[in-house]
Amino acid sequence: MANVPGIPVYKEIGATPAPGSARDSARVVIVGAGPVGLAMALDLGRRGHEVVVLTRLDFIAHASKAICFSKRSLDILDRLGVGDPPVAKGVTWNVGKVFWGAGDEPVYQFDMLPVKNQKRPGFINIQQYYVEEYLLDGVEKLPNVEIRWGHHVDGVTPMNDGVELAVTADVGGAYTLQAEWLLACDGSRSTVREKLGLDFEGRVFEDNFLIADIRMKHEMPSERWFWFDPPFNPGRSALMHKQPDDVWRLDFQLGWDVDRHAAIRPENVEPFVKAMLGEDIAFEREWYSVYTFQCRRMARFVHGRTIFAGDSAHLVSPFGARGCNGGFADVDNLGWKLDLVLRGEAGEDLIETYNEEAIVTADENILNSTRSTDFLTPKSTASQALRDAVLELASHHAFARPFVNSGRLSTPVSYPASRLSTSDVDDWANGVAPGSPVLDAPHGQGWLLDAIGDDFVLLARGWRGEMPAGVRLVQVEGLAADRLGLGEGAAALVRPDQYVAARWKAPDPAAIEAALMRAKGGKPWPN
C-alpha cells in the first residue's frame, strides 16, 4: 500500500529501509523524486558521482501534472540517455491553434518548430508519470545513485562545508544524513525551503481552472487547441490537448468565486465535457482537479550548500508549459557545474552562476506566463476591452494576431549577459551567439546535439589546431555549420549544457584556452 493516502498510484515501489547506521553521509543529497529530482540524480550519477535521493513517497503518483515536454527538454533527456522512450510513447505536436467564440477558424496559430530538420519535435505530450518512470529506469542502472523511498526530511541544518539533514524513514526510523551539497527538488511546497525559513516573491492570481483528463476515442489533429469565450464556456477560456492512451487534457477556466471541492465532482465536471464535445460523447474520467496558480520565485536559488531547482525555486502558470520544462532547464544548467565543483576542477563560485542563469530563465518564464495570464484573465475593464479588441481584430486582420496570447510556449532561454561567455571579437551577422543553445541539425549519419553530448566541445568548420585538455573537437559542415554561422576556418566553444560559450572566425589555441577557463568560472584575462 502506498504510504500517503489520497494520491492515486501509478507504480508501487515500497519503502526503502533506513541505513544501518544512525549517522550516514553522501556527497550529494537530492530531496524529491519528481521529474526534476530524478533528472538531477541521473545527470550527476552519469557523471560518476555518489548521489542519495530522498522522497517521502514510496510510489510514483498517478496524478495529473505536467503533460507538455518541450524540444529543449527532449534534448536534455537525450543527453541523459532517456530521450527515446518518451518520444516513442508521447504525442508529437508542433502546431497550436487559438479559437474565439463560436468560430471554426483559428484567429491565431503558431508552430513550435519553425526551424525544421532537427532531431526532436517542438513538443510532445505525455503524462508526467511516464517521464518519471523512464528517468527512474535510467537512474536504476547506476550503482552510485540510491533512491530512498518513504524517507521524510524533518530538519535541515546548514554547516560550513555541507548540510546536515534529520531524516525519518517509514521503515527503520530516524537518522542523520550529512551532505556536501543538498539539492532541493521537492516541489512547490518544498520542505527544505520551509525548514530553512525561505519564501517566494511575486504574484498570486485569483482564478480557478478545472482540469478534466478523460479517456475517449476522438479524432483530432495532434495540436494544441485553445478557445477564448467559446459557447461551451462563455466569457472564459478552454484548452484541449491529446495525451497518449486516448487520454485528453481538457482545461476550463472557472473564475474566482467557486467551490473548489464541488467543482471536481463528476456531476459538475461532466456538463463541461458534454458542452464541449457533444451530449452523446462517451468518455471515462481519468483525473479531475481544480488548480489556481502563482507566478513567483525565490529571491535566490543558492543558499550556501543548499541549491533549489524546479518548482521549489520558481512557480509559473501552466499556460506556456514552463513549469516542468523550466525545472529541466535548471537541471541542465546545474549538472555540469556541480560536476566540475565536485571534481575540484572549478571553484564553488561556479555554482553562483547557476543562481544567476537559472534566475534569468525563471524570470523569462515568469514574465511570459504572467503576460499570458493577464491576457486570459483581464484584471480591469480597460484590460478586458484591450483583450477583446485584440480577439475581434485578429479574426479579420493579420496584424492583430501576434497580440493573441493563449500561452507563449517554452523555448530555451538565452543568457546574453552570462559571465561564463566570452564576448565576440568578430562581427557575426548570424549564427548562435554566446549564451544561447546550439541549434540542432543533421550531422553525419545522426544529429548535432547527440554528437555534442555532455562534454565541452569545440565545433569547428575545418579548423584544426592545438586543443585544451578536456575539450573534444567536433568537425561540422553543411546545415549544422550554417546554423551556427560558422564559415570555413571558424569554430565555437560549447558548454556541457550545449550552450555556446565563445566563437571565433579564426580561433587560436590561447583564445580557446582562455574561453574554456572563463566558461568554468575562472577569470583568465579581461573580456
Binding site: A385, A389, L393
Partner: protein, 67 residues
C-alpha cells in the same frame, strides 16, 4: 532611435476630432473602450516602432504623477 512627432503634423484636426467622436456614437462605455483599444492597436502596428509607442504612452500617461 525614432522620435515621436510632437509638433502639429495632421491637416484637418477638426475633421479627425469629429471622426473620433462619431466613432463612439450609440456605443456603451464598455463598447467605446473596446473601440479605443482597437484604434490604438491598429495605429501602434502602423507605427511599427516600440520606442515611438513608448514615447506616446509617456505623453498619454506621464510616469510623473504630477502631470
Amino acid at each position: 532611435m525614432a522620435e515621436l512627432i510632437v509638433t502639429p503634423n495632421l491637416a484637418g484636426a477638426d475633421d479627425v476630432y469629429e471622426r473620433l467622436v462619431a466613432m463612439h456614437e450609440g456605443l456603451s462605455e464598455a463598447e467605446s473602450l473596446k473601440v479605443w483599444a482597437k484604434l490604438a492597436l491598429t495605429l501602434a502596428n502602423h507605427i511599427g516602432d516600440r520606442a515611438v509607442i513608448e514615447q506616446a504612452i509617456e505623453i498619454a500617461r506621464p510616469t510623473d504623477a504630477a502631470a
